[in-house]
C-alpha cells in the first residue's frame, strides 16, 4: 500500500518577471517500508519535490496524499501535526540548533510535541546510543564533526518514531568513509523499524543503498530502477 502518493505535481516559481517550472507533472507512489532515492543533478527539482511531499511547500497543481489524507490542501496548522508526529527530516547542512547540546537537539521534536522532560531524556539517550554518540551528548554542534552532527540529526529525525523520513542530500557535506557509515546507520534504522525513507541526492553511489531509484531531469521523472546492491 502506498504511504505517500504524488499526483501530477506541478510547481512554478516566479523569479522577477520570469516564471520557472521546477516540477512539471510528477507522479510517484511510495510504498510503506520502502527506501526510495530521487536522483538528479542540482536544479532538476528534486529538493522541491521533497519539500512538497513533506508538506513544506504547496504545489501549484496536483495533490499530495499521505496515508489517505490530501496534505497539499491542508492548512499549516494541520500539516504541522503531520510533521510533528509522523515525519522525520534530515538535511545536507545538518540544521541543528547551535544553542542546544546534542541531547537537547535530539529531544527537540519531543519538546514541540509536549512530551514530559523525564521521558524526553530517556528517549533521547536511547537514540544517542543507537547512533553511537552517548559520550558527546553534552556537546554543542560547533564542538562536533560533520559526521557526528549528521548522526545527531538522524537521531533527531528518528526520535518521534516517524512513519516516513525525508532526507535531503544527507551525505552531501561528508567524506566517503563517513558517507558509507551514515548511510549504513540510516538504512539499518529504517529497516529495523519498518519505516519509509525518501532521500534526494545527486550521488550515484549513495543511491545504490535504495530499494528503488527515481531519476529526475528538469522537473520530470525520466527513469525508475530497482536498487538494492548494498543490501
Amino acid at each position: 500500500m502506498a504511504i505517500l502518493e504524488l499526483k501530477n505535481i506541478v510547481k512554478k516559481y516566479r523569479i522577477g518577471n520570469e516564471i520557472i517550472t521546477a516540477l512539471d507533472g510528477v507522479d510517484l507512489a511510495v510504498e510503506a517500508g520502502e527506501f526510495i532515492v530521487i536522483l538528479g543533478t542540482s536544479g532538476c527539482g528534486k529538493t522541491t519535490l521533497l519539500n512538497i511531499a513533506a508538506g513544506l511547500e504547496k504545489p501549484t497543481r496536483g495533490e499530495v496524499v499521505f496515508r489517505g489524507v490530501t496534505i497539499s490542501k491542508l492548512k499549516e496548522k494541520k500539516t504541522v501535526m503531520f510533521r510533528r508526529k509522523q515525519m522525520g527530516f534530515i538535511f545536507q547542512s545538518y540544521n541543528l540548533l547551535p544553542a542546544l547540546t546534542a541531547q537537547e537537539n535530539v529531544a527537540l521534536p519531543l519538546v514541540f510535541d509536549g512530551v514530559k522532560p523525564r521521558e524526553r531524556v530517556l528517549r533521547s539517550v536511547k537514540m544517542l546510543k543507537q547512533v553511537g554518540l552517548m559520550e558527546r551528548r553534552e556537546h554543542k554542534p560547533s564542538q562536533m564533526s560533520g559526521g557526528q552532527q549528521q548522526r545527531v540529526s538522524i537521531a533527531r529525525a528518528l526520535i518521534n518514531n516517524p512513519r516516513i523520513i525525508f532526507a535531503d542530500e544527507p551525505t552531501g557535506n561528508l567524506d566517503t568513509r563517513t558517507t558509507l557509515d551514515i548511510m549504513g546507520q540510516l538504512q539499518r534504522a529504517v529497516k529495523e523499524n519498518g519505516q519509509t525513507l525518501v532521500m534526494v541526492t545527486h550521488d550515484q553511489e549513495v543511491a545504490e543503498f535504495a530499494d528503488r531509484i527515481i531519476y529526475m531531469v528538469d522537473g520530470r521523472i525520466v527513469e525508475e530502477k530497482q536498487g538494492g546492491t548494498h543490501l
Binding site: 496548522k77 510533528r84 527530516f89 547551535p98 527537540l108 521534536p109 519538546v111 514541540f112 509536549g114
Partner: protein, 453 residues
C-alpha cells in the same frame, strides 16, 4: 509545547547574546525607573499635602452650618439645624456620629487673669468619636455639667491686666502654658438683653492635644448646659418678638407662641459629623451642600490638591513614558536583529514540528522576559533613587527641621500598587514590542530560510 519548555528555551535564547540583551534590558530599567520615580513624586506630593492638612484638622470630620439667610430667598429653602435635621444627617450612609453644637462667647476670668472665651457645647459622650483627644486630664462624659475641656491655646486668651497694658500685642505672641488651666476654674460672665448678669464657674478637667489646630482656641462643654446658657442670653431679644409673629403666620408652624420659641431654641450653631474615611467625608460633605447646608471639611481641599497633583503626575509620567517608549523600540530592534540571525533556526523548528503559535510565543516570551527583567531591576533602581531623594531632598520640604514626634514628609512614595503596575506594565511593553518581530518570524518561509540561512 509545554509552557515551562517555552520559558526555558526563550531564556536560553536570550542569553546567547549576553551583551545585547543586557543593554536592551538596561533601556527598560531606565524607562521603568523614570516612570516609577516620576509617579512616586506625584504620589509623595499628595501624601504630604494630606499629612499637612490632617495637622489642621481631621479629614473625617465635617462641620455643618445652616445656610445663610439672604434676601430674595424663598421660604422653606433655608436649612435649619434643628433636632430633626440632626437626625436626618445621622441617617446618611457613612456617617458614624453627629453632634449638634452651640456656641456661646463671653467675658471670662481665670485667677487674676482676664479674658474672653468661646464656649462650645457638644454631646459629651461623642467627643472621642469626633476625634477629640486630650494631652492632659480627660474628655467629658455624660455626667459632667460644668466640667469643660480647653483647647491648647485657650490660656492665651487670658492676660494679667497688671502686667501687660495691651493684651493683643501681636509682635510678641502669647506663649502661655496650657497646663496652667488644668483642674482650675474659669468664671464665665453672661448677660442677657435685659442687662441681667449670670456667672458660671467652669472646672477644666482636660486640655486638648495639639494634634489638630481647629479646636485649640475653644472651650468645650456639655451641650445641655449650653442650651440653658443660650436660653438665658436670648431673654428679652427683640428678634424673639418678630420671630413669634412670623411663626404664627406660618401655616406649617405651630400656632402657640411658646412652642414657636421652643422651636427657635432648638436650632444649633453648627454640627460636627464624623465619617468612616476621607472618601465618605468628601461625598457626604458634597451631599450636605447640595441639600442646602453650609458644610465644610478639610478633606474638601484635597480635591483641588489632587487635581493639581494629577496634572503634575501626568507631566512627570509623560516624561517617564517617553523613556519607556524608547526602551520598547530598543526591545523591538533587538528582537528583529535576533530573528535575522536566527532565520535558519526558526525554519528548522518549523520543519521539525513547531507550530506558528509556538514560534510566535517563543519570541513574545523572549521580549516579555526582557520587559520583566527591566521592570524588576528598574524597580530596584527606583527604590534606590526614591530613598536617595527622600534622604537628600527632605531639607527642601521640611524646612527648619521637624517638630518632635512629627513624621518626615517624603518627597517620593512608591506604594505597593505602583510596584505591581510597574512590573505588569514592563512585561506588557515587552509583549507589545515583540509582536512585530514575532510576526516576522512566523512569516519566514522555512525552505528559503534553510537554503540561504
Amino acid at each position: 509545547m509545554k509552557n515551562y519548555d517555552l520559558l526555558l528555551l526563550a531564556n536560553k535564547n536570550l542569553w546567547r547574546r549576553k551583551g545585547r540583551t543586557v543593554l536592551t534590558v538596561l533601556g527598560v530599567i531606565i524607562g521603568t525607573a523614570s516612570i516609577v520615580v516620576m509617579l512616586s513624586l506625584g504620589i509623595g506630593l499628595v501624601e504630604s499635602q494630606k499629612k499637612q492638612m490632617s495637622q489642621w484638622g481631621s479629614l473625617n470630620i465635617i462641620r455643618v452650618q445652616q445656610s445663610w439667610d439672604f434676601p430674595g430667598q424663598e421660604d422653606g429653602q433655608q436649612k435649619r439645624l434643628t433636632d430633626e435635621a440632626i437626625a436626618e444627617i445621622r441617617e446618611i450612609e457613612g456617617v458614624t456620629a453627629v453632634s449638634p453644637a452651640i456656641e456661646v462667647g463671653g467675658e471670662a476670668s481665670f485667677g487674676k487673669k482676664m479674658g474672653h472665651i468661646m464656649l462650645v457645647g457638644l454631646e459629651p459622650a461623642l467627643m472621642e468619636q469626633l476625634e477629640f483627644s486630650v494631652s492632659h486630664g480627660r474628655l467629658l462624659n455624660q455626667d459632667d455639667r460644668f466640667n469643660v475641656v480647653a483647647g491648647s491655646q485657650v490660656i492665651n486668651n487670658f492676660w494679667d491686666p497688671r502686667q501687660r497694658s495691651n493684651p493683643w500685642n501681636w509682635e510678641e505672641p502669647p506663649q502661655g502654658d496650657s497646663l496652667e488651666l488644668l483642674n482650675k476654674r474659669i468664671s464665665l460672665s453672661l448677660y442677657n438683653n435685659k442687662q441681667q448678669k449670670r456667672i458660671y464657674s467652669l472646672n477644666v478637667v482636660g486640655i486638648l492635644s495639639e494634634k489638630t489646630m481647629e479646636h485649640s482656641w475653644y472651650v468645650y462643654a456639655p451641650i445641655s448646659e449650653l442650651k440653658k446658657m443660650r436660653e438665658f442670653t436670648n431673654q428679652g431679644r427683640q428678634e424673639e418678638v418678630y420671630f413669634q409673629e412670623y411663626m404664627e403666620k406660618d401655616p406649617g408652624g405651630r400656632s402657640s407662641s411658646s412652642s414657636a420659641r421652643a422651636k427657635k431654641e432648638e436650632q444649633y450653631s453648627f454640627a460636627l459629623v464624623r465619617t468612616n474615611d476621607v472618601a465618605d467625608t468628601r461625598r457626604i460633605s458634597r451631599q450636605l451642600r447640595d441639600s442646602g447646608y453650609n458644610a465644610y471639611s478639610i478633606a474638601d481641599n484635597l480635591e483641588g490638591i489632587e487635581e493639581a497633583a494629577r496634572r503634575f503626575q501626568a507631566i512627570l509620567g509623560g516624561i517617564g513614558a517617553i523613556t519607556l517608549l524608547v526602551a520598547a523600540i530598543g526591545i523591538t530592534n533587538t528582537m528583529v536583529m535576533s530573528i535575522y540571525e536566527r532565520t535558519r533556526e526558526i525554519a528548522i523548528m518549523k520543519v521539525i514540528g513547531a507550530s506558528f503559535r509556538e514560534i510566535r510565543w517563543l519570541f513574545l516570551t523572549e521580549s516579555s522576559l526582557i520587559g520583566l527583567l527591566g521592570g524588576f531591576f528598574g524597580l530596584g533602581l527606583s527604590f534606590a533613587l526614591s530613598s536617595l531623594l527622600n534622604h537628600y531632598g527632605s531639607s527642601f520640604v521640611n524646612p527648619g527641621g521637624m517638630m518632635p514626634g512629627q513624621e518626615a514628609i517624603q518627597i517620593s512614595v512608591i506604594p505597593l500598587w505602583l510596584v505591581g503596575f510597574a512590573l505588569l506594565f514592563s512585561i506588557g511593553i515587552g509583549l507589545i514590542a515583540g509582536i512585530y518581530p514575532a510576526n516576522r518570524a512566523i512569516n519566514l518561509d522555512p525552505i528559503t530560510a534553510m537554503r540561504h540561512g
